[in-house]
Symmetry: C2
């Protein structure tokens, strides 16, 4: 229906995360209805991004320049390095505007299932920064998953020789979270992380 060009467009759209065959067809139709106003601008934005975007050799972020805008921002505290798993995690923290230091994107977590070992993590730039001095704190902001916790523990061990405080993000109730819908693990973590209101 509609020829090979349309079939190919739908097949490639369906491979995007969040889109299945049905929504890929809807997206393709929306684009085909406005080839000049919608499809060509998107195609050109993709080509432009594919040409211009690279991985920051300092922190692992994606940006059009290397080092990235965060690493070169004079307003950011290069003494506080926040370690995250993915660029998506970095973006989430930037949207929240809660970290004024810099980042290190590991690119993954230790996972026996996925076959990811220490050598697969992008850790060397962080070690180089620690060796160069000037880092006052490393914040481990990995997910509260089995792999995230394993990676956090491994990093805590790995960084112990640098004489720099290594912290990890707190665990507990998410904002707006009612207790009766949360899982046992979150409730246990929230109780363990309780603070005494003197």
């Amino acid at each position: 229906m509609g020829g090979a060009d349309i079939e190919r467009l739908i097949a490639l759209l369906a491979r995007l995360p969040g889109l299945g065959p049905r929504s890929a067809r809807r997206a393709a139709l929306a684009l085909l209805r406005q080839p000049q106003a919608r499809m060509l601008p998107l195609a050109q934005a993709m080509e432009q991004a594919a040409r211009s975007v690279r991985t920051c050799s300092t922190c692992g972020n994606l940006d059009t320049r290397d080092p990235c805008a965060i690493c070169t921002d004079p307003g950011r505290d290069r003494g506080v390095v926040c370690v995250v798993e993915t660029v998506g995690d970095l973006w989430a923290l930037e949207r929240a505007g809660v970290h004024r230091g810099v980042y290190q994107v590991l690119g993954g977590t230790l996972s026996a299932l996925a076959g990811t070992g220490p050598d697969d993590l992008n850790l060397a730039p962080l070690l180089a920064r620690l060796e160069a001095g000037g880092v006052r704190e490393v914040i481990l902001a990995l997910g509260a998953t089995v792999e995230g916790a394993a990676t956090t523990h491994w990093l805590q061990d790995r960084l112990v020789g640098f004489d720099v405080p290594v912290s990890r993000v707190g665990q507990g109730l998410p904002m707006g979270g009612a207790l009766d819908v949360l899982d046992d693990g979150t409730l246990a973590a929230a109780l363990t992380a309780r603070k005494i209101h003197s």
Copy 2:
């Protein structure tokens, strides 16, 4: 975060139906991780489709040729014309493989809210085909919505002078539909459309 090229890519992806800001970011990240393997092929498929795909002047379908593959298929019955609202509806019927005739895509329905009147519907090619003769049946396959029903009634009136049988698709229980989850309108339509098993 990540420069203007990435922001622009995310903004354009977020305008696709089925994608919001969050899933657009996930899709952009997936594409940015594999610029050569995923992003450029998708960009090129879009440019190719934008160049090659046109609207069939006979039926309103989207295809790389005009008239489209359905209109020129010698195996299809040009005597039976199925009227649908959108190209997406045409694709759905083609996937189901239930119509061996040809189509007429109206491009919309009569809607006071949307401000769509008879002149906005792509009806002229169908009238031309009816005047030319050879059409043995017109099947109205519009949605069971208020606008779809209004358009069906208007078309039944409009086509009465051509001395060609005009049918409309049946209404009733969807396949696999349990009665207790269906709305009153569907149940009423199903009872009205009941058939006597002699």
